[in-house]
Symmetry: C2
């Protein structure tokens, strides 16, 4: 593992690290914020999965998350959103290929050799961080923004029992019925839509739900609102009577200004579950 | 004036605007955060002057300042650090020319036609914002980072009576005796060092001081510590018995992770003076 940078931040450390990933078959970079408490004991951890075009860096620098993570003594993991490198397949669109892994394990050419983001996040990076840092992998929460909100919700529901809580900012809620989803799912997983179902939060909510609390914030003025499919997940949550808060926030859009406004609430929400 | 973007943020608005500057003889872009209170009454304002290589955008997205400005009902102005454009003189170094205006009025070729950042900030942009936004220019504070900390301190001391309070993050404290200063001052102002004195916080502190409180944070592990000359300003503050807090923060470096850690304190410090 290579340390790219470590900066003191709110009495903790904001680090950036690179490691050789066997799962993605390339080097992967991630950000990790460790609060001061991690010097003395393993701390609970909140995953932050980022959206289209992002690297590990965007949320780490723009979400204003560390202030609240430090207050609650929680580590933050900022993974990349895809495999990277000259040898890694890519697409000219911003919404496919590098920067747009969609948190699935690709089965189709040319993506399958590297695009294994589901396993990378849930298995390899989880193990890596648990083994190398003062983080307690028995106390995990997960959140994310846009494509990363999709990732957080689908991973939390698929990995039953692992996450105490899940939240999301402007998540893609029903990708199997959206232009933010169908293009990527057919590319990565092929035309058989049966393989897509475990990567659709609305379908997972109908089928199984989540055994913990959910918090979702989405801006009323989100410029990508039609692509998110929030109404489908809202209906599925209400039908299931899932423990969840879905908040439509007047005037807010899809930007990090929106994320930074509500991340205090999200981290407090996860802290309540992680310290329960 | 052109609105580049407006994003709702902490119940206020983070805007980016472009206007034709007569002072800098080019279009200038700035960020302005208006808290919710600005909808109902003019609000006090805190200037944030940025450091070398920055535009209006860096602090606006990375300093985590809006959360505290919203809490205290204070506007934040994020000016650019220099004139910009293909017609504007530049230098290949990161520390001279575009991105490195040093908050002076250049008198020397090729800089003088555009590099009038002192007047731009203290006169034209002040008037522009006062006329176009719900900001109370009778209640101003000023802060900045690195080169911008230099700007904040020198502007506050030169414009006696204007600012209720001044603070700085890792400011360049004694540019007339630093490689972060001499190169730029000779380029912009010429070889006569008498013209440099009003742009050196240490010399201004010896000569006149500031008629309000000062707060300065600088990291003990600042990688540019030798260039800042903090010890010179510290001595001048103590000699004058200036109302000031100078805090050397263990483990912190020169980054925005450092700024974001302490900006809560700085905004609370300014709020106390602005609402006094």
């Amino acid at each position: 593992m290579e340390t790219i940078s470590e900066n003191r931040c709110f009495d903790g450390v904001q680090g950036v690290y690179r490691h050789a990933s066997n799962t993605c078959n390339c080097d992967m970079t991630f950000g990790l914020f460790l609060p001061e408490e991690a010097k003395y004991a393993r701390v609970p951890v909140l995953w932050y999965l980022s959206g289209l075009t992002c690297t590990h860096e965007n949320a780490m620098t723009k979400a204003a998350a560390q202030v609240w993570a430090a207050e609650h003594g929680i580590a933050l993991v900022f993974p990349d959103t895809s495999p990277r490198g000259d040898d890694v397949a890519d697409d000219q669109g911003y919404d496919l290929g590098q920067g747009a892994g969609f948190y699935v394990n690709a089965t189709e050419a040319p993506w399958s050799p590297h695009y294994q983001m589901y396993d990378y996040i849930t298995s390899e990076l989880t193990d890596w961080i648990g083994e190398n840092f003062s983080v307690d992998m028995d106390r995990q929460g997960i959140t994310g923004h846009s494509m990363g909100g999709h990732g957080a919700l689908t991973i939390a529901m698929n990995e039953a029992g692992r996450f105490a809580s899940v939240s999301a900012f402007a998540p893609i809620c029903h990708p199997t019925a959206s232009d933010w989803g169908r293009k990527q799912l057919v590319a990565y997983l092929g035309k058989d839509e049966a393989a897509w179902a475990k990567h659709d939060a609305t379908l997972l909510m109908k089928e199984r739900g989540f055994d913990g609390p959910i918090l979702i914030d989405t801006g009323v003025d989100d410029q990508f609102g039609d692509l998110l499919g929030t109404e489908h997940l809202a209906a599925a949550i209400a039908t299931r009577r899932q423990n969840a808060q879905l908040r439509l926030q007047s005037g807010y859009d899809h930007s990090y200004f929106f994320v930074s406004t509500f991340i205090e609430d999200h981290i407090a929400f996860h802290a309540q579950a992680l310290y329960a």
